[in-house]
Subunit: 150 residues, 2 copies
């Protein structure tokens, strides 16, 4: 992984959420607009060789968390990021050997940063999606709370 | 585990969702009204030594799944149970060495069974909660779809 920002996120996940290692969660790419993480099916499979819902939700939760993490890193801010609420829809079974979840970086982050700088605490909603050739398979919305570390 | 119904659920989880073994998920008790499963903090911790949200959601997802599984077992029906939607609120960090999630068996399951028997397919919403001495820490609602296996 050449991008130090992504290498930093991968190391943070492995250190701070060790069960993501057992799941084989890997940071894939980030282009300021979209963060993508992937996971192999094998350790996360169920008996029908589709992905266990709990693993899919963990992947989406971490992609949303990572999106907030990267926004803070790029703004040179340090914060404690916690998910407060999550909503997920499992539209179709996920059966590929590896699968990816992608978050859209929220478009308007101005209010998020203003509140964080003025109050030391803020909130951001992040949408995450999984899709294959047939279209979306999982849709997730997470609400993350950030407490600035000073 | 003396109860053969619970031993059957534990074996099913380990066989059909192997990542639950890495998480240390254990069936605890069931009294027709409430199913409880627990998990140790250590493999599921984050850097603050509270539980990783993805693990908490996986536990709640499986407790809801297990509730539907036990309802089918007790009715001598076989079905493929899939979660369709989940909503979760993380109210407070979970920091105990072991923690438990409990589902209330839905009160009115008559319509669920009628639809399953007439259409071969049905749906059930299950509420799951985690709590400690200070009150609720996690609230979860899962919608499960069952396809009868004949």
């Amino acid at each position: 992984m050449d991008n130090p920002l992504l290498a930093g996120l991968q190391q943070t996940l492995e250190r701070e959420m060790p069960i993501t290692r057992a799941m084989g969660m890997q940071v894939v790419s980030y282009d300021d607009q979209r963060l993508a993480l992937q996971m192999p099916l094998e350790p996360n499979r169920n008996h029908q060789y589709s992905a266990f819902a709990g693993s899919l939700n963990a992947l989406c939760t971490v992609v949303g968390w990572g999106t907030v993490f990267l926004l803070l890193e790029q703004a040179s801010l340090r914060g404690n990021i916690v998910i407060r609420r999550g909503k997920i829809r499992y539209l179709r079974p996920v059966k590929t050997a590896e699968f990816t979840a992608t978050a859209q970086t929220p478009k308007n982050t101005q209010y998020f940063f203003e509140l964080l700088r003025s109050k030391g605490k803020s909130k951001l909603d992040v949408e995450v999606q999984m899709a294959d050739q047939q279209g979306p398979s999982v849709k997730f919305l997470g609400s993350y709370v950030v407490q600035e570390l000073v």
